[in-house]
């Protein structure tokens, strides 16, 4: 690795370019370009899917009606809504310069961002689940991936956040699920509106210092520009958008429950089983809000809801066992939730 940290500010870019630009950088770094810190702000709002996520998670009709493009990135995480109120950053280094253990690499790549937040007056911490937070609110979303031999971590400075739209773009058939998700999104995702120029400068300083590199403004190389053109084409194709879980293929996993992760440890889900229906929010392992339906409860669902509210997810089956057949059906619906996998 050279001792240079190339810093590129792509400014405002189209939704497509706000993805393909930094992917081109990752291919460039893989091929020998300097480690690179880049910034980009989408010129228009759009929706972006993580590498493995399913297009069916998005309300495509809503996106079409509201002219929100849908793109797929090569790094992980769930579907996200992006707009001009978010400044995105990407740090990319050769894989050989990072620990082989993913959690160590991720921590090493996120810690300088925390330093930068501090430098601009935001008391951020990197928690045990590798989320950048202030208190219990996430202030920076991130995703990571290895693209050939370049490891990239993306994150954002959230200057403003449209919680309602970020929830609305998700395909949620149950209105209660949408309402519960929006409430948690408002509670656990926060904006930190600081001067973006100061943040960019602090980031360049923090990453240079953390990796012993000398920050210098840069731009894409000729090879990266060629890669960018190829990526524009790839990312615009239906095949790329369809992703690794194309409908109809044998390897498609039927969703076991509709789950939305708001931040690490905070999630909602909706599931049905044999006519029983569950919608719940889970905050650090405990059921916080729950809405239940089973035809045989005959109006006594409130009693069951009270019984499971506040208990740990692992105790739900035991508690519901006391409510006969409806309890067993509801417990089966609960069992489809798998928070570790979202």
């Amino acid at each position: 690795m050279t001792d240079e940290l190339r810093v590129i500010d792509f400014g405002h870019s189209s939704p497509l370019r706000s993805q393909t630009l930094w992917h081109a950088v990752a291919y460039g770094v893989s091929a020998g370009a300097p480690a690179t810190l880049s910034f980009v702000r989408p010129a228009e709002p759009y929706v972006c899917l993580g590498y493995h996520r399913d297009v069916a998670e998005i309300d495509l009709d809503y996106c079409r009606t509201n002219r929100l493009p849908l793109l797929r990135r090569m790094v992980g995480g769930g579907p996200v809504y992006l707009d001009q109120g978010q400044l995105f950053f990407q740090i990319c280094l050769p894989s050989r310069s990072l620990p082989a253990i993913r959690s160590q690499a991720l921590r090493r790549l996120l810690e300088p961002a925390v330093t930068a937040f501090h430098a601009v007056g935001v008391p951020a911490v990197l928690d045990d689940e590798l989320e950048i937070c202030v208190g219990d609110r996430k202030i920076c979303g991130h995703g990571a991936g290895q693209i050939e031999d370049g490891v990239v971590v993306c994150g954002n400075l959230i200057e403003t956040f449209d919680h309602e739209r970020a929830t609305r773009v998700l395909a949620l058939s149950d209105p209660v699920h949408r309402e519960v998700t929006l409430a948690l999104m408002r509670r656990f995702v926060a904006a930190t509106p600081v001067d973006p120029a100061a943040f960019r400068a602090a980031m360049a300083e923090a990453y240079s210092s953390a990796f012993g590199l000398s920050g210098a403004p840069g731009e894409l190389s000729g090879i990266e520009r060629k890669t960018l053109t190829d990526l524009d084409e790839r990312f615009s194709s239906d095949g790329w958008l369809a992703g690794t879980r194309r409908s109809g293929e044998a390897t498609v996993a039927a969703p076991r429950a509709r789950q939305i992760k708001v931040r690490a440890g905070i999630w909602t889900f909706a599931a049905t089983y044999d006519g029983a229906r569950v919608t719940a929010s889970v905050v650090r392992g405990r059921i916080e809000q729950v809405h239940l339906y089973d035809r045989a409860l005959n109006g006594s669902s409130r009693e069951v809801e009270r019984a499971v509210t506040g208990i740990g997810l692992h105790s739900v089956a035991q508690v519901l066992a006391g409510f006969g057949d409806p309890g067993r059906r509801l417990a089966t619906a609960f069992a489809t939730a798998d928070p570790g996998r979202i």
Partner: protein, 154 residues
Amino acid sequence: MEGSALVQVAGFPVALDRSYHAESHMWVFRTGLAHVRIGMDSLGLETSGTLAQLSFAPVGSELTAGRPFGQLEAAKFVGPLISPVTGTLLAVNDDVVTDASLAERDPYEAGWLIDASLDDPFDELQGLLADPAAVSAWFADKIAEYRLQGVISE
């Protein structure tokens, strides 16, 4: 793969009837003269974090030792699954694509990842760790190293 000679090393299971690619934590089990089954060992899985998704190159793809044959996503990090052999991808375990946790629950049997044919059935596995005593020692060393680094718990 009946009775896979599974032993516990410092709390982590390892099967001693197969070969290991130390860097990638992939195991290789010979199912025929030129055919192998490939999976990830329990330590590789543990240090990856909770698996969210696995995806693989299409059946029929060429495999190159040291290059990716698929992707693993854990903790919002998508990273390559590195092939320990050179050959051809013959089959993918659809069960782990459907439910990635199967690889964590049963890494040496039901949680296998791919089947492959070998370009060179005689020399292809020579660079891998195969001797049971060497495998056990390597596993114990890696566990100690990861515990020292705080990557895995005591």
